[in-house]
Each structure stands twice: as C-alpha cells, then as structure tokens.
C-alpha cells in the first residue's frame, strides 16, 4: 500500500542547528512541546524562504532579514508555552461558515477594462517572458 513519506523534521527543513537558544531546546525536551528545535535560521534557510516568497534578497538585506526573523520567531515562540490540546483552531473570528449563493451567473468580465491597467498587454493577452521553448 502507498505510504506517505514522513514529513521532514524542522531541523531538516530549515537547517536549524543546536546552539544559541539551548535553554528553550532543553525546555522543549523536558516539557510537553512536540518538537525539539530552536536555533537561529542559517543562510540556506533564508535563501529558501526568499525563493518560496518570490523575493530576491541582496547580501546585506539577507543578513538583516536573518536577524529580524530570529527576533520575530523569538517573539512568536511565546505561544509554545500554552497547552492547546483539545482546542480547535479558529480560522474566522466569528467562527462563521462560508455562505453560499445560488449557482447563477451574475457577473461578466470586461477584459479590456481590466487590462487597461496592465503594463504589457497585446491582443487581449498579458505579456510575460517566454515560458515554453
């Protein structure tokens, strides 16, 4: 039977290594937290994040991003201290559900109007660099 490959561990995924924040790591191991990482993001991890975000980062920018993200992650890591076993995630502040409307065509697309604000258009098509050789 087909089996899904195990999800990569956080360590593998973003190259966090043991080091600076050992205090937290220790707590994670001894406490109830489901993971055992806690390290600074390395340069490869920043490159990967930039690629996933479709952003190019200059060398000096990359160094600053690394520092900033470490600070932000340290800030948001506070949530790890809360036991949320049995708590359902809340995706909508009113716990609402998506309302549905009758499946009827009500809108038309005015292509010319929308393409007027594009910087590169020809014959009703958006122009992009060649993607098929």
């Amino acid at each position: 039977m087909f089996q899904e490959p195990p999800a990569p561990t956080i360590h593998e995924e973003f190259g966090r290594t043991k080091g600076k924040r050992a205090d937290r790591s220790t707590r994670a191991k001894s406490g109830s937290l489901p993971y055992t990482w806690t390290m600074p993001l390395d340069a490869d991890a920043i490159d990967k994040l930039a690629r996933l975000s479709a952003l190019d980062l200059a060398a000096d920018e990359r160094a600053q991003v690394q520092i900033d993200l470490e600070r932000i992650i340290e800030l948001v890591d506070a949530i790890q201290a809360v036991d949320t076993a049995g708590v359902e995630p809340l995706a909508h502040p009113l716990d609402g559900v998506q309302p549905l409307r009758p499946d009827q065509v009500t809108e038309t697309v005015d292509r010319d109007r929308y393409q007027r604000i594009a910087l590169a258009v020809r014959d009703g098509h958006y122009l992009v660099p060649r993607v098929v050789e």
Partner: protein, 493 residues
C-alpha cells in the same frame, strides 16, 4: 462662512441645511488647509477638481431637496480603499501606478450618501506598521508634535482629522490600525465587528482581521459615518448579514469590565490619566469591575503568526503581470516575479511575507500557524466568558502616547539596529479584540504632557450601539475630543 475647520459632521450638516455654508466653500476651506499643512504629509493624493465638481453637485442637490445624509460633507479615504479613476497606492511602490477599475463598497456607499472625497490619505505600506513610517511616500507627522509619529497604519487619516484638514476619514484596522492612530492623534476611531463593514475593494492585508471603519472628531460622528458604511455586501463573502447599528438612546446603567492584564507596562502617568477616565465613566452611572482575560499576553505573538501568514498569501498576487509595478527587462518569468516584488515592496512588507512563509512552511505549520489559531480561539473565549459578566470593557488603547520616529532603532557606533518587534509590542492592547473580531473604539480621555491619550472601549460582537452610546455619553461630559493641536488651531487656514 460660519463654520470652523474643526466642526463636527453634525455641525456641518446643520450649517449646510441652514444655508450658512455651501459645500463648495467647505471644500475650498479644507483644500486650503491641506495645502498649508503639507508638512504633515497626511495625503498621498488630493482630488481638488473632482471634489469641487462634486461639491457643486451637492449644493445643487441641497438647493433642490434640502440637506440629507452626508450630502456636501467633505471626507477623505485611506489610500487602501479602491477608488475608480483615482490612484490607490496602499502607500507602496508596488501600487504607485495603480488606478482601480472600480470603487470599494465603502467608497461607493459614502459617495451615494453624498459625501465629497477630498483625497486619499497616507498610511503604512499595505497597512503594515504602527507609526506610518513604512509608507513609500514618506512618514506622516503627528499634528501635536512634528517629531512624533501619528500611529499607524491609518496615520494619514488620523493626522488629517486631528489637524482639521478634513472633518472625517475612513481607516482600516487589522491589529489596531484605526484605534492606535486615533489614540495618538487625539481623535475618535471605531473598528467595527469583523464583517460589519464590507471589505470589497479594500486592499487585503490579513483577511480574517481587516475591517474598515470611521475616524472622526466625535463618537456622534462615528455613528453617522458607520451608518453609511455598514451593511451586508454580496461582494464580500465574509460580510455579516445583520441589521444596522441601532441607537440605544437613554440606556440602563452598564457594567464595565476593567481587564487587569491591560494595566501593565503603561508609560509614566498613563495609568493616572486612564483612572480618571474610569471615574468619569462611573460618574455617568455605570459600574466598573475588575475582570481577567488570562491569554492576553499571547495575543501579540498569535496575531503576528496568523496575520503574517495571511499577508504572505494575500500579497502573492503581486507578480508584475496584471497590474502594479513591473520590473524592466526580465530574463525569464521567475525573474519577472522576483524582481517586480523585490524592487517594489518595502522592508517591513518583505519581512512579514517572509515571516508568513516561514510559519506556513512544511514542518512549521502545526507549531506556528495552527497553534496560533488555537490561541486565537482561547483569546476569543476569554472575551466571550467575560462578556457573560460585563456589558463592555474599558482599557488603554496604547501603552504610551505618540512616540518619536525610529522606535526600536538603536544607533550604535558599529551599526544601526532596528528591532521590528519593539514596534509590534505597541499593538499589545489592540490586537486581542482584533483576534476575537470584536468591535472596539478609541476616544480621547486626557493628556500626558502635550500629547493626547486614548481610551479604548471593547464590546461584544455587533454591540456597536452600546459602544457608541457610552462614548457619546463620555463626550457629552468631557471636552478632550474638542481639543485641537495648537499649531493647527487657527481658522480658517
């Protein structure tokens, strides 16, 4: 001309009805003031021509049918609301060339009520910031002190209203972006319940938080504006199908909860100023009692996880193809995407996209995004439990009055350190209500030195009527909302 620049919408409507002022005169006056106060940098686009044309139309309408609704009342829109034919930049280089092909629902509704748009106000880029320093078009100054920030992200709207450049403006609030600048500029600002005001045509930052609302000189004006902004919209699937906000009129004494967690870490004598506001509320006949919202300290971390995750998804649409900034001479399509985004997004926007990408990544999703959503439920539950005991809550809007530019930036001999999380913490008292989708407002309640202090009132879902009733009662007994920044106090220009 018998109406000063700090008149309320109520006063302006009376003057228009009585014929003591015309809509054209009003537009002239405020355009002159906007020009004189250019140093505030509170506007990105000024629509002098269309404003005068619309004011003429308003005067003709008043002559024909008398004054009604907002006919002839000048307003400004935060530059996050799409306006057909007028640039909508979201204070980003990404949208510096963007002219929306349609009006946001809020814009259309206020225009239908006869309001005259003077222009689009400055803000933090994509509404990401608490100081209006991340705008591509430069920072906005606080009218009370030019070296200090007006707050953010709706800083331009707040500064313009505070300086008497426009009687009222729209804002949007994701984690405090209406309430915090309202507090720092000494005006009144309301974040309605999530879903109360349509998000259609509001450039998206974090879709499960974003909510448009009014910013004005009094709570009574907030009520007037909300009436013309709210309502179910079939174009926004998260728009709530609820009735209009009612007017409680004379209401019974309320029980007001004072959440203990909100009174830590306040700057200087802020506690004393806010305690005086509590006494004023008690003098109005209401009973204040201590309550606890135990998960409050996890609100800022949970907020930055969820809002950055949503931002990273929402801002994926900016690819340099259909609209917005397009990088020149791309080598291939990936290069077009990456360079368009890298060249046009500012530092804070990139930071939040990267943070969101990180917390949504394989292996991190459960530890961050899902965990933060669980926290969101716990924080919301704190409020729901407390609202079993109390009708409203009273709290500080911000931990300090307006701060100087460059919060979190430390200049050392070696380099410049800029810690973004210092700024994030300034949202500590506004993000909890945002996470819970609750309505909340900020009104001026005193001074700390020469700077205004904001009082926050938080209500149960869709209890805007109760919030506004208390705020209006407070403003009938106090005059903090009538104070004007000395530098801009002289009328007319």
């Amino acid at each position: 001309m018998s109406i000063g620049p700090f008149a309320t919408i109520g006063q302006i409507r009376q003057a228009l009805a009585a014929g003591t002022v015309s809509a054209v005169e009003l537009v002239d006056q405020y355009l002159q003031r906007i020009a004189v106060a250019a140093e505030l940098n509170s506007f990105i686009t000024i629509c002098a021509e269309s404003a005068l044309a619309n004011a003429k139309r308003a005067d003709a309408m008043i002559a024909r049918q008398g004054a009604r609704d907002l006919v002839g009342v000048p307003i400004a829109h935060k530059d996050i609301f799409c306006t057909a034919g007028v640039p909508t930049t979201c204070a980003s280089n990404m949208l510096a060339n963007f002219i929306a092909p349609y009006d946001a629902t809020v814009v259309a509704k206020l225009a239908a009520a006869g309001a005259v748009m003077l222009g689009k106000t400055n803000m933090d880029e994509f509404a990401m910031g608490s100081s209006n320093e991340t705008s591509h078009f430069g920072p906005v100054a606080n009218p009370w002190d030019g070296n200090r920030v007006p707050g953010g992200s709706s800083g331009g709207s707040a500064a313009a209203v505070a300086a008497g450049l426009v009687p009222a403006a729209t804002g949007t609030d994701t984690g405090g972006s209406i309430r915090q600048p309202a507090a720092l500029c000494g005006i009144s600002g309301l974040k309605p319940t999530y879903g109360r005001v349509s998000r259609y045509g509001m450039v998206a930052f974090a879709s499960s938080f974003d909510q448009g609302g009014p910013m004005a000189r009094s709570a009574a004006d907030l009520r007037i504006l909300l009436h013309h902004m709210e309502g179910h919209d079939r174009l926004d699937s998260t728009s709530a199908a609820v009735g209009a906000t009612g007017d409680l009129g004379d209401h019974d004494a309320l029980t007001i909860g004072i959440p203990a967690e909100y009174w830590c870490g306040l700057e200087g004598d802020l506690t004393r100023v806010l305690e005086e506001a509590v006494r004023e509320v008690e003098r109005l006949g209401h009973r204040c009692r201590d309550i606890s919202l135990p998960h409050t300290r996890f609100a800022v971390p949970a907020y930055y996880v969820v809002s950055c995750a949503e931002a990273s998804a929402n801002l994926a649409r900016y690819d340099g193809v259909r609209y917005g900034y397009r990088a020149g001479n791309p080598a291939d399509i990936q290069d077009l995407y990456r360079r368009s985004r890298s060249e046009a997004f500012g530092t804070e926007v990139k930071r939040r996209i990267l943070t969101g990408t990180y917390t949504l990544s394989v292996g991190y999703y459960d530890a961050y995004y899902r965990k933060a959503q669980c926290l969101r439920r716990l924080i919301r539950q704190d409020f729901l439990d407390a609202f079993e005991q109390v009708d409203l809550m009273l709290a500080p809007a911000t931990p300090s009055p307006a701060f100087e530019r460059g919060l979190g930036r430390k200049e050392t001999a070696a380099d410049q350190l800029d810690d973004p999380t210092v700024m994030y913490q300034h949202d500590v008292f506004t993000v909890p209500a945002s996470l819970a989708g609750l309505p909340a407002l900020s009104i001026p309640c005193g001074r700390l030195g020469h700077l205004p202090v904001g009082l926050q009132l938080i209500g149960p879902h869709f209890a805007e009527d109760r919030l506004l009733a208390l705020a209006e009662a407070f403003q009938r007994e106090t005059d903090w909302h009538l104070r004007t920044p000395p530098k801009f106090a002289r009328a007319p220009v």
